[in-house]
Amino acid sequence: MVDNDPIIDAQDEVSLDQWDDVNETANSPDLLNLNIDGWEGPLDILLVLARNQKVDLRQISILELVKQYLQFIDDARNLKLELAADYLVMAAWLTYLKSALLLPKDPEVDPSPEELALRLQLRLERLNAMREAGARLMARDRLGRDLFLRGAPEGLYIKKRRKYYCSYFDLIQAYGQVSARTQPVMHMVKKRAVMTLEDALARVSQMIGMSIEWTSIEAFLPTMVPMDGDDEFHYMLRRSALASTFMATLELARHGVLELEQKDSFEPLMLRAMGDGDG
């Protein structure tokens, strides 16, 4: 089957007519010898080989097809044609498929070789369908070749006058933002939720006089009225109040105004006034 005739015109641009020539030539089994560049990949070759069988693609013999493809690859190698990797990958896969089809059936193998063969056949059918559709499409009466629009249309012309709109508010707002953007930047520190040590000292000093019994430090904290939807604020304020109040009680204890007691770690911190003692 070795034949040096360059049967396939390896042009990039193959017109439809040339293309049909290609297929017809290749359809003659004696002349299956190719300049590899003329082919659109292994599936393309397989399709031509399959069509060589001159039967409905649904009835092609996959084994025969595999045999022919491998023969084709061998020929190409003998001619020292450079084969792209995907041709060889296909050859390897088909070799595997062939042996799987020939060997006794192994029910463990999934997908089964029959399924693989069927898939290949379906792919060929699909490619073939599109190839034929392309040919039919190109053969239609086409505008500019068979059918013509008016040769010298006067042309339609709409002059679009652009009108812009902008509302008064847009204008003023834009100026406001320009001004804001270019004004010296003013940093405003957000007011944090704190109770100062001074406030705590004043509060505890005032309240301690009334409680002679041990009282939990909690009782000295200001009553928190939860702010609407601002749990974060509330939580921060409470923490700050607790810290400041604790500091204040330590300070007052140092001055002998009150005494502190805690039964154990994490037990409530209790405080009470120191008798009359002023120190």
């Binding site: 990039d12 641009e13 193959v14 017109s15 439809l16 293309w19 659109e40 990949g41 292994p42 599936l43 393309d44 995907d86 399924e115 069927l118 898939r119 379906l122 792919r123 059918e125 699909r126 490619l127 369908a129 599109m130 190839r131 034929e132 559709a133 392309g134 040919a135 039919r136 499409l137 190109m138 239609r140 009466d141 086409r142 505008l143 500019g144 070749r145 068979d146 059918l147 013509f148 629009l149 008016r150 249309p153 006067e154 042309g155 339609l156 709409i158």
Partner: protein, 205 residues
Amino acid sequence: MDKQDIRAVEATLFASEKPLTIREIEQYVENDIDVKQALNVLQEDYDGRGIELVKRGDQWHFQTAADLSYLLRKESDQLRKLSRAAIETLSIIAYHGPVSRAEIESIRGVQISKGTLDVLMETEWVKAAGRREVPGRPLIYIVTNDFLTHFGLNSRKDLPGISDLKASGLLDPVDMAMEELDLSAGENEQNDVELNEDNSESDGV
């Protein structure tokens, strides 16, 4: 229907350098004209003349009658120059569209060079139509109204042989066909109907 209105639609389409949608025609004629009806009247008027009024997708235009092509046929380089890869890719986009590049490649069994899609986009027969919502979000392609106009198709439903291809499942992906083979053969018909419905949605291409 008022003769003057029909004349207005006729003149507008006749003067236009390109096919027009009804909406575009409306921009030129008086507001209250029923353009659709005028087009139907015109289509009948021109039936059998040397010029015919045709609808391609949602666009209308006058063109020379198909049977006179033997007098006027003109081969232009631009039309001759499509490569085989481009023709196949175009068919796949037309028949399977919207399709991603990977889907085209899986049907052709070969990678498509960047140039192939570019050439098709340049003819304005093919355009990108968004992305497929799958991993990688690939671009998907469809044929345009220009495609329909050039090949004389009213819609994709008129693509040669498309109903046969659909009926035989050849427009389904291989995986889907395999699944179907597993299912009972009786369901094929139902499937077919669904596919036809799909098509009606894609008419506006």
